[in-house]
């Protein structure tokens, strides 16, 4: 069947292509015989005719332009503004990804310290395929809860054992991925609220250290900040860094949720002279971290490397990964027992995680989701008898207290969030983190974009978010009838049969 619309568009484009040539002639004549001002239009039409000729007869890249000429540009124009139109006008409050408006608004409200209660029922699909927390007939008295205190490194008897006082920590985002203002606002917010912040794998944490918060130094596969020229670990540099009073823990990153099995990527657009210096990399080239630590080629060498880092830094030292194969992880845990080297903590990053720039296929198709991976890791650790020798952290889209407590019911001792904190800083989910053009000045190094991100103002929002989340943790925990987060177990979870199966 013939579509009327198709015929009209073809005819319209043909008419338009001829029309601009005719207009050019008419304007030229008017410019000559009536007023020279008409030549403004003559010139515009002339250039349009030239560009249109190129689109229709010389370029081969764009079929629509070759077939229809300049009117086809309308499609590209409309397509380019599509995301904004969808976000602001057409997408419903619960539709957007990765975080819908309801999710984001919840963080914004907490960060701004305004009432986050709502009315007239949930906006979420409250049906049978959602994991929920189970409340108790006998809620605990909120004033009787034990203060949150997770001690990392105590199992090894470390004098440097670190007390985590807030259940939510700032996840690994490097200076490089984030601009200076964002890093300092986060670090200052962490200091204000007593939370622990992960530095990310961006090398020497110069800006993190400026604000006085507790830090977990992340040792990435490229070992930025503590590397030798050939990319191996420089023990002396790590020891010197670990001696810094603010560095409380070291996290060896094996993989991350955004791109499990692939190294980090910092696009060249985001590499400033300062970043190049802090990381020890050249300017003007994408910085690609290796997909694995060169020292770690199997379970034995991996465990030996963990032990080596523990020994060199003298701090609680853990590992971070996005789970792929549980059998590999079980083998790794067994090797830990063989060598009697157990990391002080393990961070499980869900495959849904990801502030990092990553190839789309890695972002979409690899890595177990957090709520699949976390129970597997917990089970393996318990079955292998090492669970009491380490702490377990979870990360991956955990921006609400409810989801965080669900993770803690699955075994996590504390949780990480990265994007939750970006939202607290004012992220509008423009999805431009990899282009150095973040409109709210967070994932960019452009001074004119960062100037709008006031460090003092936004650090207060970060602190508000951390405190509000902690408060909500306590409310929810009391509702479950437990007195301490460590008492949460899968019994406190409702897992629908269809999810379980």
């Amino acid at each position: 069947m013939k579509s009327t619309l198709d015929v009209d568009l073809e005819a319209a484009s043909r008419t338009a292509n001829i029309g601009i040539v005719v207009l050019f002639g008419l304007f030229a004549a008017a410019g000559h015989f009536v007023s020279f001002y008409f030549h403004f239009f003559t010139v515009a039409c002339f250039l349009l005719v030239l560009v249109n000729l190129y689109w229709r007869h010389f370029q081969t890249e764009h079929t629509l332009l070759a077939n229809f000429g300049f009117l086809a540009q309308i499609r590209y124009l409309v397509e380019s503004v599509g995301p904004e139109f969808r976000q602001y006008l057409f997408a419903s409050d619960t539709e957007e990804r990765p975080f819908n408006r309801v999710d984001r608004a919840q963080v914004y409200r907490k960060a701004k310290g305004i009432d986050s209660s709502s009315a007239f029922g949930t906006l979420l699909p409250y049906d049978q395929d959602e994991i929920k927390l189970r409340h108790s007939f006998y809620p605990a008295d909120q004033n009787q809860l034990e203060p949150f205190d997770v001690v990392v490194g105590a199992a090894r008897g470390l004098a440097t054992a670190h007390h985590i006082k807030r259940p939510l920590m700032i996840s690994a985002m490097s200076f490089g991925a984030l601009g200076e203002h964002a890093v300092r606002a986060l670090a200052r917010g962490a200091a204000l609220s007593g939370a622990t912040m992960n530095t990310g794998e961006g090398g020497y944490p110069k800006h993190h250290l400026e604000e006085g918060c507790d830090l977990t130094f992340q040792l990435g596969t490229a070992k930025f900040g503590v590397r030798t020229e050939d990319g191996r670990l420089d023990d002396a540099k790590l020891a010197a860094l670990a001696a810094h009073e603010q560095i409380k823990m070291v996290e060896i990153k094996f993989s991350q949720g955004a791109k499990p099995g692939k190294g980090g990527l910092l696009p060249k657009e985001k590499i400033t002279e300062e970043i190049a210096e802090l990381r020890g990399v050249p300017l003007g080239k994408d910085v690609i971290s290796p997909s694995h630590h060169v020292e770690c080629t199997d379970a034995a060498s991996t465990v030996a490397f963990i032990g080596h880092v523990q020994e060199v830094c003298g701090l609680p030292t853990g590992i971070k990964f996005c789970l792929g194969r549980p059998d590999e992880f079980r083998e790794l845990v067994r090797e830990m027992k063989r060598q009697d080297i157990v990391p002080d903590f393990i961070t499980v990053d869900g495959g849904e995680g990801g502030t990092g720039a990553a190839p789309k296929s890695f972002m979409d198709e690899l890595g177990l989701p957090l709520f699949e991976a976390l129970p597997l890791v917990q089970t393996i650790l318990v079955e292998e008898g090492v669970r009491d020798r380490l702490k377990l952290f979870a990360s991956g889209k955990l921006i609400s207290a409810g989801k965080q407590l669900q993770a803690m019911s699955m075994g996590a001792d504390a949780v990480y969030s990265a994007r939750g904190f970006l939202l607290a800083l004012g992220c509008i989910q423009a999805l431009m983190c990899n282009r150095n053009s973040c409109p709210v000045g967070i994932t960019t190094h452009e001074a004119h974009l960062q100037q709008g991100l006031d460090i003092e103002e936004k650090s207060q929002r970060v602190a508000n978010y951390i405190k509000a989340i902690h408060h909500e943790h306590e409310e929810l925990l009391a509702a479950t009838g437990q007195h301490a987060a460590r008492d949460l177990t899968p019994v406190n979870l409702y897992v629908p049969d269809q999810v379980r199966s």
């Binding site: 030229a28 410019g31 000559h32 007023s35 020279f36 001002y37 030549h39 403004f40 003559t42 010139v43 515009a44 002339f46 250039l47 560009v51 190129y54 689109w55 370029q59 890249e61 764009h62 332009l65 540009q73 590209y76 124009l77």
Partner: protein, 127 residues
């Protein structure tokens, strides 16, 4: 690297001549007034073109050089039309100096426009 240097040089040359030309139009030098009188655009057209030339020159030395080049090429096309149809090649016995500068700006801007066409807003990706 060589091409980049050439592009920057072309931007500089075009911007310098445009600054000078727009300045002369703003201050109403005798020959520019004569030209715009001949075109029937004095004085509004002279100021309008001066503004556009100044804008093009500023854009040419900014990160938006592609847009500046497009603007400059457009203005020079208009100037070429004026010289070819109404004013003639020689203005005020200048031995064709006006025309020479015009062609210099046109060619330099055209070179910048072609070299930086991908940076043009909206249509850059399709050129």
């Amino acid at each position: 690297m060589k091409n980049k240097a050439l592009t920057f040089a072309a931007q500089g040359i075009a911007a310098a001549i445009l600054f000078m030309a727009s300045g002369m139009k703003f201050f109403g030098s005798a020959d520019t007034v004569a030209i715009f009188q001949a075109l029937g655009m004095e004085p509004a057209g002279r100021f309008l073109i001066a503004f556009i030339e100044m804008g093009a020159a500023l854009l040419l030395i900014s990160p938006f050089a592609a847009s500046g080049a497009a603007l400059a090429v457009s203005v020079m096309c208009g100037a070429i039309i004026a010289h070819c149809t109404q004013i003639g090649m020689v203005v005020d016995d200048d031995g064709g100096m006006h025309m020479l500068l015009l062609v210099a700006v046109f060619l330099a801007s055209l070179y910048v426009l072609i070299a930086r066409r991908k940076e043009l807003p909206i249509i850059g990706g399709t050129l």
